[in-house]
Amino acid sequence: MAEIERETETPAAEEKIAVATQWQLMWWRFRKHRLAMIGTVLLLFFYVIVIGADFLAYVDPNESEAQRSLMAPQPIHWMDQGRFAPYVHPLKGIRDPKTFKRVYKPDLETKVPLKIIGHGYRYKFLGFIPSDLHLLSVEGAKPEETLFLLGTDLQGRDLWSRLMYGTQTSMTIGLVSVALSLFLGILLGGVSGFYGGGIDTVIQRIIEILRSIPTIPLWMGLAAALPGSWSVTQVYFAITIIISLVGWTELARVVRGRFISLRQEDFVMAAELLGCSQGRIIFRHMVPSFISHIIAATTLAIPAMIISETSLSFLGLGLRPPAISWGVLLQDAQNIQALAISPWLLISSVPVIIAVLAFNFMGDGLRDAADPYL
């Protein structure tokens, strides 16, 4: 804010601000919010993963093999004799004769060269472009037998590849749920704020009731009732609906507040006196002046949705295998025994925390930027 004030001291800058559109003002303010910019870049990065999960994974995420159970993350050697030539040492699994645990030893004699952007298992990019290109592949061996960037889980599935697909699911489920919540929130919040009176009271009571119920038991009850025969996609959408059931209340509250405060503005009165239709007043005059607030509130609502999905799946009531999400991945890390033996299973918590923080930072920045004249 102080920086904007300084800018206004020069007449040229003042003129620039005077003629700038609302979105330009927002962008200028947003740019100054350093944390928000960091958050935005991080989120772009996450959504690149969402789009390119198939490319970034190097083995089929459901490819399991008991012989490769619970392998620790494997380091990549980037340089070979002073040249850039990434390679890994192949791992050999043997059973410890004393503890009967499987232990893995690297074979330091052999080097398996890695190829940046190479061929691997087949997939359809974006669901329709057939391809077999992957960021990493192994020369002269099968990647599922040699490469374990983040280790493997109990069933011997590669965690790196699973994490890529988990990111895809978890980051989109947040968006779908928020879209649904936004629809309900704008509709009900708008009706509540625009018409007021009895209908407002009813909607406000509903919101109050929904907010006073502990959400997790409610979600658990609803999610547990989803038929076991449902497909992955059906469960995915059912979960988004369950999450949005409570999620819309906060957005409705914001929309209602905006409607009520805008109703008293002179320009709305002017439009009314000029004989504008109700639809025109709402969509042409009122909505553009609070859309930025809605965007900010929406951004701040997404992390809560991501946490909800992760928690439900963690409990085993959300998405079910073979679906992969951050919550499903964390299910393996549920008890101290598992964590003590294989702490790398906890790695899926890192993207959850970063994504939630990034959304919060970006939302905070957007909220501040939404009031350029503040």
């Binding site: 009571r205 109050e208 009731i209 907010r211 006073s212 119920i213 502990p214 959400t215 997790i216 038991p217 409610l218 658990m220 009850g221 609803l222 547990a224 009732a225 038929p227 992390p303 946490i307 992760t310 928690s311 963690f314 409990l315 085993g316 009531l317 964390l330 890390a333 549920q334 101290i336 964590l339 003590a340 702490p343 906890l346 918590s349 959850v352 925390i353 939630v356 923080l357 919060n360 930072f361």
Partner: protein, 329 residues
Amino acid sequence: MVAYIIRRLLYAVLTIWSISVLAFVIIHLPSGDYVTSYIASMSASGSAVSEGEAQALREQLGLDQSIYVQYFKWIGLILQGNFGMAMEWGRPVLDVIGDRLALTIVISLAAIVFTWALALPIGIFSAVHRYSLLDYIFTFVGFIGLAVPGFMLALLVMYFGYSWFGLNVGGLFSPEFAEAPWSIAKVWDLITHLPVPAFVLGISGTAQMIRIMRSNLLDELRKPYVVSSRARGLAENRVIMKYPVRVAMNPFVSTIGYLLPYVVSGSIIVSLVLSLPTIGPLLLKALIAQDMFLAGSIVLLLGVMTVIGTFISDLLLMWIDPRIRLGRH
């Protein structure tokens, strides 16, 4: 004032009623009914149930009646304190829940006390020493607290407690007290086990509260009355504590209504990770076994508990905020 209390009471009753409907819906959502699952469990143990027997059982339990009749019957029984049988346990629901419900309340209260005890002084400090190093540190920690979901924090605490200190942080009682009858020593044992769950459950609420307290107090500190009391030479401590903090605390009390369902909600899932003997693990087990009477009763009881908590917070708010007491908003 009386009108306000009555209105709040009516809302509370309305909310409890809606929760009962939701709980009933949850009970009836899975396909089939109690008899279907009874038949399944009987045939699993080798004895078959004939069609006639099933029909008789349905009639006896009233499951052949319309859904509305069933709902009113269920509510009628609950009003008499009869929550039905927990199928898996073969005991009345209340028997199974009893102690666990009490422990859930204890843990939730501990988390809220933790939240307040930490958020109030830190919020005041952050507002008074705005942009100081400590303010930045608290803001940062607060953000982390908001971003890490409770169950994940529990996992991390458990993992680092184990790998760094060799501690097993789970549980609410030491092994020797777990099955013991209640005594002073057992209560003390419980108290010494409370800090970890209270911390895990309370931290995200604390982060929110610090932010609320900080921004409220900042708004208050800019007001002319603060300047004037300073001009009159009041001690700085008094200038801040006497009025601005009191005013800034208002929203603090009002949010306890939202904090409570939030904490109870969190306690369900955190209990599973830290293996606390609360109602959470029981609910999960009941849901997975489709023991819907037990699950529905738990959802109902938790809901009622939070509604009562919210009602108390409303009364508290009325007590500290004269504007509400006098019926002006």
